[in-house]
Amino acid sequence: MAEKDVLTGEHFIHGDAACAEGGLAAGCRFFAGYPITPATEVAERMARRLPEVGGIYIQMEDEIASMAAILGASWGGVKSMTSTSGPGFSLMMENIGLGMMTETPCVVVNIQRGGPSTGLPTLVGQADVMQARWGSHGDYGCIAVSPASPQECFDLTILAFNLSEMYRQPVFVLADEVVGHMTEKVIIPPREQIHVAQRAKPAVERSKYLPFESTGPMPAPMAIAGDGYHVHVTGLTHDERGYPVITDAVQERNVRHIVEKVRMNAHNIIRVDEVALEDADVVVIAYGCTSRVARQAVEDMRRKGHRVGLLRLVTLWPFPSNIVRRLAGQVKAFVVPEINYGQMALEVERTAGGRAETVLMGLMGGSIHSPQEIQEVVGQYL
């Protein structure tokens, strides 16, 4: 039973399936979801695979319920995930907020398609980047990873689970339709080579345990249902015990904790791929499927002797401000190809602070950039 959770070996699978396999390898044993293109294949894979390892797959009545169910399962002590795309992601925002406020680990896979509204169900988009960051009301820290290949769908889903357990909050795998539906070789390593974070349990007796304490600024270990700690978990502003307290002082502490635990630990969370940045005059900043095209464009231009680099964002949030700020003093321009009207480009421009030009190459969705298009724009700033 247990040996089936990590399918060690070489596979030829699509990104959606690799997200499911990553979840299983990370220890996910509960999946609640709702069919939606282009993320349905994640659910389909889970529906077949979870029963093999004794886990539970349940198809809920909508994405609101799916998100609520994975929070409930997480408090039951089981690693849980869901998958969706734009319209479902919108519906999940309410309980994503609950997950942030109640510090509940879980993973949400979003295989992005073109929006807004029903948009382009079958075609690519990258326009949920800001929704992932700011989508639920109120302030909270956001962690989102962005795979650029089926292999990374596997690897980064595991990372997402590990980060969610470490920082006790929902973590997003922000993939896109191209990566989700792309079939490539995926290598699943032996179990002992996969790092899986286990949930920390409280080590103190009940009268000393503060389930929502902030320590430096990390979350407290999590007592799950039935552990005997009698925790009250609420979406209301709460003190360290979890008791609702409707005052500005407690709100100040509560919200700052759930923001700062990500902000102050950003250096431990951020992952980027730096390609030929040392002497670059122009740097392309890209993520997801777009980063594959951008890499081609950059490598071609390098071969021709142009001083071009690529900063590939593996984590989208927290944003690698320090790296971009450092590069802003070196380069003439950042070229940001993305499949939206300029979401990550805003963050780049803000961080560059006017020291380097930010050039958005936006596509509204349904197609990807060509390396030639990127080279043309980059060429204008060399």
Partner: protein
């Protein structure tokens, strides 16, 4: 950017401990209440205290350890029940108690998961979750406190407000009929359906103890007074007078057809255990059908 915030006021463990020492343990049921959470927020005459007490009495009578009890609630006055009970309690988003509890109950079949919420939470914003929870027959005990209005927000009309009833958003009288909750729960597939009023605490305790023994989705509606939000505009009097109304106008008929349980303004209230049937719950079917097939345990069985 540079950031300026106010200093954080650290949690005062000593004063929290002192409050518990001074105020906790005076009431015989305090061992079931979270230390330092009383006084509660409910209005004088509200029926929620009765419902909370009957739930505690039911777990006490059944001898279920509190470590095995979990309460999940939504938003509203009834949603606050969770926060007072000394057990693992989850106060979720508006209408979403049932799907949250679904995830919890499915991964922890060893726990008794009870959903406490109001009529607006469970049947308006959460109505879809309730019918699907009942259809799937998730092992959950749902206790719905029906006070015919949204009390927490100050007495607005909801999905149970009867035709012609006055609320702050139906000042000329409600144009919509209210749901018949037992009928809806039964039609959706609940294996146990009962209705009591807060005038029937003994029957209610008995019903709750019965649901602890049931596998599957059980539903108990408790009619409760809301003198502040619903009683006043409809001239139902104080909480005590509403109890008198329940005494005079309720009719106990166990086994009655839930389709006949509609409630009209100041009308008769049909009470009793209407439905008590057996049906495999989700996990039983999932384990026997899905997991058995996936793990090849059903091999050799006749197809």
């Amino acid at each position: 950017m540079k950031r300026h915030f106010r200093d954080i006021v650290p949690f005062d463990q000593d004063s929290a401990d002192r409050a518990i020492e001074e105020g906790h343990g005076l009431h015989p049921l305090d061992e079931y209440l979270k230390p330092g959470r009383i006084p509660h927020i409910w209005c004088p005459g509200c029926g929620l205290g009765v419902v909370l007490t009957t739930y505690i009495e039911a777990i006490r009578r059944k001898g279920i350890p509190v470590d095995k009890c979990v309460v999940v609630s939504g938003i509203g006055c009834t949603g606050r029940v969770a926060g007072y009970l000394d057990m693992d309690t989850y106060h979720t988003t508006h209408g979403r108690a049932i799907p949250f509890a679904t995830g919890l109950a499915l991964v922890r079949p060893d726990l008794h998961v009870t959903v406490f919420s109001g009529d607006g939470d469970l049947f308006a914003i959460g109505g879809n979750h309730l019918i699907h929870g009942a259809r799937r027959n998730i092992n959950l005990n749902v206790i719905c406190v029906n006070n015919f209005n949204y009390g927490m927000t100050g007495g607005q009309a909801g999905p149970t407000t009867p035709v012609d009833a006055r609320t702050s958003t139906t000042p000329m009288g409600n144009a919509e009929p209210g749901f018949n909750l037992p009928h809806l729960a039964h039609a959706s597939g609940a294996v146990y359906v009962a209705r009591w009023t807060t005038f029937h605490p003994r029957q209610l305790v008995h019903s709750i103890t019965e649901t602890f023994d049931k596998k599957g989705f059980t539903f108990i509606e408790v009619i409760a007074p809301c003198p502040t939000g619903y009683g006043r505009p409809n001239k139902l009097g104080s909480g005590l007078e509403e109890m008198r109304y329940y005494k005079e106008m309720s009719e106990v008929r166990n086994g009655a057809d839930p389709s006949k349980a509609e409630i009209r303004l100041k009308g008769k209230i049909l009470c009793g255990t209407f439905i008590n049937v057996e049906r495999p719950d989700f996990l039983e079917t999932y384990n026997n059908l899905v997991i058995a097939k996936a793990q090849g345990r059903d091999k050799g069985k006749a197809a």
